[in-house]
């Protein structure tokens, strides 16, 4: 499978520059990119708006 450590074309682009005032900084995540049937529509909700991801 393909693994990237950055923007995979979906909605999350990385680790925040500054940790929260209440939480310790987490270890950076390795982002998993989509595999399998490209016809399966994927999506997410950001800032109260929900949308289909761009086609792969």
């Amino acid at each position: 499978m393909t693994v990237s450590s950055g923007d995979d074309g979906s909605t999350v682009t990385g680790v925040a520059e500054e940790p929260s005032i209440t939480m310790s900084a987490p270890s950076p995540l390795t982002f998993v990119t989509a595999v399998g049937d490209a016809d399966v529509e994927t999506g997410s909700c950001i800032d109260g708006v929900c949308a289909v991801d761009p086609p792969r």
């Binding site: 499978m1 693994v3 995979d8 979906s10 909605t11 999350v12 682009t13 990385g14 680790v15 925040a16 940790p19 929260s20 005032i21 209440t22 939480m23 310790s24 900084a25 987490p26 270890s27 995540l29 390795t30 982002f31 998993v32 990119t33 989509a34 595999v35 399998g36 049937d37 399966v40 529509e41 994927t42 999506g43 997410s44 909700c45 950001i46 800032d47 109260g48 708006v49 929900c50 949308a51 289909v52 991801d53």
Partner: protein, 224 residues
């Protein structure tokens, strides 16, 4: 037997992709046979929304996204179709757009009582399929008791907001990870999966996490 992988899922009760993602993740678990310990983390998509929002979901989406109500309705119809493919019967005509912070507080109570997964499913079904108002205390009391929580404890917890710090801690942790949208999955504290992906993607992510866990265990065995 292997120790379960940890899976933290940031999501909101009024996130249509979160319910779709929940079903796809469940499919992935069945397909992979992987053992996981799931924790639902709080993410407020629209914390500024009043409990009694005066409008329809189409009104809300239209205002928020700056599109026409017709376009908003078309988007909701599309996601309704995708949900149907997962066996979900979204009914946006009866959805009550609301503020979900109390629902998140209740999910933390449920976690302490060992019924968080059951409550998450109950809340999503109530919101998207059954036209229930998940922003009001008495509705939440009914939904919480459906999964075995105590009505008086729910009322007390939602009155004094004893779980609000836990909600805010989840939000802060999500922000520290850089999470901007939901659903978002963090597997074993190391892998991030953004969005309601296909079951195949979730299966691959779980396999990757398991391989990393096994490699770490093997390494620890060598160096011990």
């Amino acid at each position: 037997m292997s120790e379960p992988l940890t899976v933290e899922i940031w999501s909101d009760v009024q996130c249509p992709w979160c319910y779709i993602g929940k079903r796809r993740f469940e499919t992935a678990l069945a397909d992979s046979g992987e053992q996981v310990a799931i924790t639902y983390r709080s993410f407020e998509l629209a914390p500024d929304t009043p409990v009694d929002y005066d409008g329809t979901p189409a009104d809300y989406l239209s205002d928020r996204k700056g599109i026409s109500r017709e376009q908003a309705s078309e988007m909701m119809a599309h996601v309704t179709g995708l949900a149907a493919q997962e066996g979900l019967a979204y009914d946006f005509d009866h959805v009550h757009q609301t503020n979900t912070v109390l629902a998140h507080e209740l999910l933390h109570l449920a976690r302490e009582r060992g019924v968080q997964a059951e409550l998450k499913e109950r809340l999503l079904a109530a919101y998207f399929e059954q036209g229930r108002h998940v922003g009001r205390v008495e509705e939440l009391v009914e939904l919480g008791t459906d999964v075995g929580l105590d009505a008086d404890e729910i009322r007390a917890a939602l009155a004094d907001h004893r779980y609000l710090p836990a909600v805010k801690a989840d939000v802060a942790q999500g922000a520290a990870y850089g999470i901007r949208g939901v659903p978002f999955y963090v597997i074993d504290g190391a892998l991030g999966v953004s969005g309601a992906q296909s079951p195949e993607t979730f299966v691959a992510a779980l396999a990757q996490a398991r391989a990393a866990r096994d490699a770490a265990s093997a390494s620890a065995g060598v160096t011990a």
